[in-house]
């Protein structure tokens, strides 16, 4: 539905552009079955003729065409801006992927019949390759104009293109058809080189449709430039860059829409066989369940009958009748049960006997335990008796120890008491000696006092003696000094008399 809505919008915008409309219809066709394709081709031819007639007559259509051209140019300018942000090698990788997608889409679109037609036309179209190259070069020149000039230049270019369209259409009707065929051949040749998975084909369908739309824009420009006087010469590098930009846009824009449609179609187609298989399995399961139920019923019913009719089952076993495997198993089961019944009765009797025996054994064990307990009690009593006997011996020993302690204590008491008495006596003697000592001290003190007095007297005498001695010494000193003085006087007189004769001698001179 999304594709249909987009296609309707495009048709309303580009009603008079027959080429673009035809391309959109071609894209819509591959989803349908093969017989519809043949019908579509016939109808498209008539529609083209009608649209061309309208373009020639109406003037209002020219305005719409100018708007369309503006949109195309604006779209072309955007990738240039994007190119500034993106690095080179990544862009190239994306372009390679998109190219592969185009090839795969071609394979999807071209069925057996279309493929054969393509091959038929390929032989006769080689002469037109030069025209394609010139068209690409002119397209690049036009982009360059858009960048440099403002909006006015864009409008003027649109008007010029409108005037030229009528002449181009008249002269080159056949050439357009040839160009389409050449493109188909190119796609088929690319298809042979690449091989991709089916999922990838569905994923990449959107890119082809978008790229085809932009290619329509190129064709319009090409027709105008062929007859114009401008001679554009640009390098191959620019062409490569432009192609990469276009491819990236195609890949990013339309993937989401077509992917969802393709997936929904695939899921709707795939569910049917699964449902059939599921139904078949369910029927099989039901049949198996029924069979199992039957077997279960057989297994349940027969042993019950065998239980109710034991004699019959035993007779059958003895006869050796063997029908189906189930029947034989059921009879065996019945025979086992009969055997078990007999065994159970005997076993019950045996169990009763065994239980009685066990009870008796338990009683015996209890009796043994009681005997052991009594024996232990007897042993305890014997041990107590022995202990009591030993206690008597202990008492005797205790008496002896006590006697020893008594004797020791008595002896120590005696010795200590005697020693204490001796000490007391010594103390008395010492006290007596102290008294004597004190009396002696008193005497000594008196003597000491006397001695002190005597000493003082002696000191006084000594002092006097010392004074006397000093006086005597002083006298001796005085005597000596006087003698010395006298001697000195004598010497002085001698010197005086010796000096007197000298002046007499000097006078006569």
């Amino acid at each position: 539905m999304d594709l249909e809505s987009e296609s309707s919008v495009l048709e309303s915008v580009e009603d008079n552009n027959g080429l673009i409309g035809d391309l959109d219809k071609e894209l819509n066709s591959p989803v349908e079955t093969s017989p519809l394709i043949s019908k579509g081709f016939g109808l498209r031819k008539w529609k083209r003729r009608l649209r061309r007639d309208l373009v020639k007559d109406d003037t209002s259509v020219s305005m719409e065409n100018s708007k369309a051209l503006k949109r195309v140019l604006s779209g072309l300018v955007d990738p240039n801006a994007k190119q500034m942000h993106l690095p080179g090698p990544e862009v190239r990788q994306d372009s390679v992927g998109s190219v592969g997608s185009v090839n795969s889409v071609v394979g999807f679109v071209m069925g057996g019949e279309s493929y054969g037609n393509g091959l038929a036309f390929a032989a006769g179209v080689d002469s037109d390759n030069s025209e394609d190259r010139s068209s690409t070069m002119s397209h690049s020149w036009d982009k360059h104009r858009g960048k440099v000039s403002g909006g006015k230049s864009v409008i003027s270019s649109g008007d010029s293109s409108q005037q030229r369209k009528s002449s181009v259409e008249k002269s080159n009707k056949l050439r357009g058809e040839r160009i389409k065929i050449e493109k188909e051949n190119s796609h088929s040749s690319m298809e042979s080189a690449d091989s991709r998975s089916s999922n990838f084909v569905f994923m990449q369908g959107a890119s082809y449709s978008l790229s085809s739309r932009e290619q329509g824009g190129r064709r319009m420009m090409d027709y105008d430039d062929e007859n114009s006087d401008h001679d554009a010469h640009t390098s191959k590098r620019k062409d490569n860059v432009e192609e990469e930009e276009e491819e990236t846009e195609d890949y990013s824009q339309g993937d989401c829409v077509e992917e969802s449609q393709i997936k929904s179609n695939g899921s709707s187609d795939n569910l049917d066989p699964l449902i059939v298989a599921v139904n078949s399995f369910q029927t099989l399961q039901e049949a198996l369940q029924k069979e199992l139920q039957k077997f279960q019923e057989l297994g349940k019913e027969e042993p019950i009958t065998s239980l109710h009719d034991g004699g019959e089952s035993s007779s059958c076993i003895h006869a050796g009748h063997e029908g189906a495997s189930e029947a034989s198993s059921s009879y065996r089961f019945g025979s086992e049960k009969m055997g078990e019944m007999e065994l159970t009765s005997l076993d019950s009797e045996i169990l009763n006997l065994v239980n009685n025996v066990e009870h008796l054994e338990i009683k015996l064990e209890e009796a043994k335990r009681i005997l052991e307990v009594k024996e232990t009690q007897i042993r305890e009593l014997e041990s107590t008796i022995n202990v009591s006997e030993t206690c008597n011996g202990g008492t005797e020993i205790g008496i002896e120890d006590i006697f020893q302690q008594k004797v020791e204590a008595e002896i120590e008491y005696i010795i200590f008491s005697r020693s204490v008495g001796n000490l007391k006596r010594r103390i008395k003697l010492i006290e007596e000696e102290k008294t004597l000592g004190l009396s002696k001290l008193d005497k000594a003190e008196t003597k000491a006092e006397n001695l002190k007095n005597q000493a003082q007297d002696l000191q006084n005498h000594c002092v006097e003696i010392t004074e006397i001695q000093e006086v005597e010494c002083l006298k001796k000193r005085a005597f000596k000094t006087t003698r010395c003085l006298l001697l000195q006087l004598g010497l002085l007189f001698i010197l005086y008399y010796s000096l007197l004769p000298e002046p007499e001698i000097a006078v006569p001179t």
């Binding site: 008496i399 002896e400 006590i402 006697f403 020893q404 302690q405 008594k406 004797v407 020791e408 204590a409 008595e410 002896i411 120590e412 005696i414 010795i415 200590f416 005697r418 020693s419 001796n422 000490l423 006596r425 010594r426 003697l429 010492i430 000696e433 102290k434 004597l436 000592g437 002696k440 001290l441």
Partner: protein, 180 residues
């Protein structure tokens, strides 16, 4: 210390206190008996001997002869008088008791005197002395009881009876016989 030195010097240098002490001793000897005189002399000798080293010592060991005599008297009493062991093993005569006691005391004194201890007071040696005496008394009493059992039939009958009243009567009868 000065006072003690003075006392020592006075005792050594001055003869009069010795004479005074001798006079006191002579005065005491007159009214009392020879034993008392001997005791006093022993005490004086002991005092002199202990004073000479220059200090008073509170040594308990070695004991004086007087104390040893006291110990002997006590041992004789324990052996001759009634007690737990006497009730069980019987009593001894006074003469036998004295001889046995002397032997026991001499042996114990020898053992104790041979022993060497770092204790200055001599308390440990005293304990050893007392233990030795007690052991030897038990041994002697048991030996005597066994000998008496072996000697006479009458004693055997008394011991076989093993009654308190009869045991008490036995030694009394023996004592009466010995006195007679």
């Amino acid at each position: 210390m000065a006072e003690t030195a003075e006392t020592i010097n006075t005792t050594i240098s001055s003869p009069p206190p010795e004479s005074e002490s001798s006079t006191t001793i002579s005065a005491m000897t007159d009214p009392t008996s020879q034993e008392a005189a001997s005791k006093d002399t022993d005490l004086t000798k002991e005092a002199e001997s202990e004073k000479k080293p220059g200090g008073i010592s509170l040594r308990i060991w070695p004991p004086t002869q007087k104390t040893r005599d006291a110990v002997l008297n006590r041992l004789i009493e324990t052996l001759s008088t009634e007690s737990i062991l006497s009730k069980r093993y019987g009593t001894l005569k006074s003469d036998d008791a004295t001889t046995v006691a002397k032997l026991i005391e001499e042996e114990a004194y020898g053992v104790a005197s041979n022993a060497v201890s770092s204790d200055d007071d001599g308390i440990k040696i005293l304990e050893l002395y007392s233990k030795e005496i007690s052991k030897r008394m038990l041994e002697s009493v048991k030996a005597r009881s066994n000998a008496s059992v072996g000697n006479g039939s009458v004693e055997d009958a008394n011991t076989d009876a093993s009654e308190v009243s009869k045991d008490d009567a036995g030694p009394a009868s023996e004592e009466e016989k010995s006195e007679a």
